[in-house]
Amino acid sequence: KPLPGKAHRPLKPSASRAPGIKSNVDALKFLSKFGYNECGGSGSVQSKDTGPLCQSSFQTMLEHFQTVFHLPVTGKLDDKTLNLMNKPRCSLGDYPMG
């Protein structure tokens, strides 16, 4: 937050702003992009082409993310999880193999 007395510097007028993560669909894209979809595909959680063995539910992915970042493991897109997902970050995935 801007320190009292310091004028907040406006963003560069030309810069578009990264879309925030607000919904489950947004969160699913985020989790797939950064390597939390054990099926390896991006965006397709119950994908047929990876066969019946690959059942990685949205809740599992959320719990995985919450576990490794020491958040309460609720399996739900709660405020703390949303808050962390919306923090600026490195765009490399969190698993080198991914």
Binding site: L3, S14, F34, H70, R89, C90, D94
Partner: protein
């Protein structure tokens, strides 16, 4: 930390393709050099900017949105930058971000993000330690706190230790040195064409670091413990209180030893025998009557070290080998079968001699290890090495050989 893959060479060059408009080229270069120094301070790595059309390992650029590497940036906020693991070397920053060189919480400090991305380009993946620079989410840190311990451990796991903790850089003979670069000189007499007069220019070559010589000694020395065969393919050697590693793919040793307690937390100096079980993937270190068990180098299993009991338990075994699902421990020319599950020894009556189990291997074994289906026995005082092939159950035809050339880390 998650150490993924190192560069095979440790003298690396970077090329800046464009810069932060508000910084200009010079300021961008200076902060990049600071970011490289963050890593050079804790690992035997040397960095400098490429000159002219010199080939560089790292290619650094600022892009916006799609920039055809399959990882488009997303505008201000969101993702800030990314880099690729060795030996790719590309480092990209989102030019739509509010980059700053201040540490006051406004904007994103370029030096911190650059240091994080260079960590990737050097082979480190993200860390879940929130105090780490390699933590995936941006967090403000003060320069005096760089590098946090987790990142120091990570870069040392990849490149070994940088003894004197000074960032070392090298300058090309033609480069205009950056303000922070130390110039190197060679001690040779040069003639210059000025007016036909000979003027002596004294220059000094960078010191070859002592560990290089030590590395060579590594071949001719006995090490307390040698074991390998893990997924990371490193051959670990323990030499009193230091760990030296050899990687067969890169064909070189660590350029300097890493304190044993930095690699095997909970271990003690002067371990006597060690092995990595290819079945359970556990690492066992033996000393006296005790055994340490690690699930990975830096995680000692709870309850360890443990005291081993039973009559006839060997004190300070000199080596551990792996064959057909069990561990042999060697002591006094005899073999003791160690059971991983029960953590006890079983020995035959009469005890089995080394030469019975491994025909052709003499009694005077000083140390030994198993790697990739072969046992390497080092003997004294003749300082020879015997390589025993566990498939053919024979000593390989052209062995024994002198230690200095006869084991794979020195061929």
């Amino acid at each position: 930390y998650s150490a993924f893959r190192p560069w095979p060479n440790t003298t690396l060059k970077w090329k800046l393709n464009n810069q932060i408009p508000t910084f200009g080229r010079e300021k961008t270069r200076i902060h990049l050099q600071e970011a490289f120094d963050d890593w050079a301070r804790y690992a035997p790595l040397k960095f400098r900017e490429a000159v002219g059309d010199e080939q560089a390992e790292f290619s650094i650029s600022f892009n916006e949105g799609n920039h055809d590497d399959g990882f488009p940036f997303d505008g201000a906020g969101g993702t800030l930058a990314h880099a690729f693991f060795p030996k790719d070397g590309k480092v990209h920053f989102d030019s739509a971000e509010e980059w700053t060189d201040k540490y006051d919480g406004f904007g994103y400090n370029f030096r911190l993000v650059a240091s994080h991305e260079i960590g990737h380009a050097l082979g480190l993946a993200h860390s879940y330690d929130q105090t780490a620079l390699m933590y995936p989410f941006y967090q403000l840190m003060q320069p005096k706190d760089l590098l946090p311990k987790d990142d120091r451990d990570g870069i040392r796991a990849l490149y070994g230790n940088n003894e004197d903790n000074q960032p070392t850089t090298f300058a090309s003979t033609t480069a205009k040195p950056l303000a922070t670069t130390t110039t190197t000189t060679t001690r040779k007499k040069k003639t210059t064409a000025k007016g036909g007069k000979t003027t002596k220019t004294t220059t000094r070559k960078p010191q070859t670091t002592q560990p290089q010589v030590l590395a060579h000694d590594r071949c001719a020395r006995y090490m307390d413990v040698v074991f390998g065969g893990g997924p990371d393919k490193w051959l670990y050697t323990l030499d009193y209180d230091l760990v030296w590693r050899y990687h067969p793919d890169f064909g070189h040793w660590d350029t300097s030893g890493i304190p044993i307690t930095d690699v095997f937390q909970g271990a003690e100096p002067h371990m006597m025998a060690g092995i990595l079980s290819p079945v359970t993937k556990k690492i066992y270190l033996f000393k006296g009557y005790r055994v340490w068990r690690f699930s990975s180098p830096n995680s000692l299993d709870s309850g360890f070290p443990r005291r081993l009991f039973g009559t006839g338990t060997p004190y300070n075994p000199i080596a551990a080998l792996y064959e057909k699902g069990h561990i042999w421990l060697l002591k006094g020319g005899l073999l003791f079968k160690f059971h991983e599950d029960k953590l006890i020894y079983e020995f035959d009556r009469p005890p089995k001699r080394i030469s019975e189990q491994f025909p052709g291997v003499p009694k005077n074994v000083r140390t030994a290890f198993t790697y990739d289906g072969k046992h390497y026995f080092f003997t004294e005082p003749d300082r020879n090495v015997y390589v025993f092939d566990t498939k053919t159950k024979r000593i390989e035809s052209d062995y024994p050989k002198p230690m200095t050339t006869g084991w794979f880390a020195c061929q």
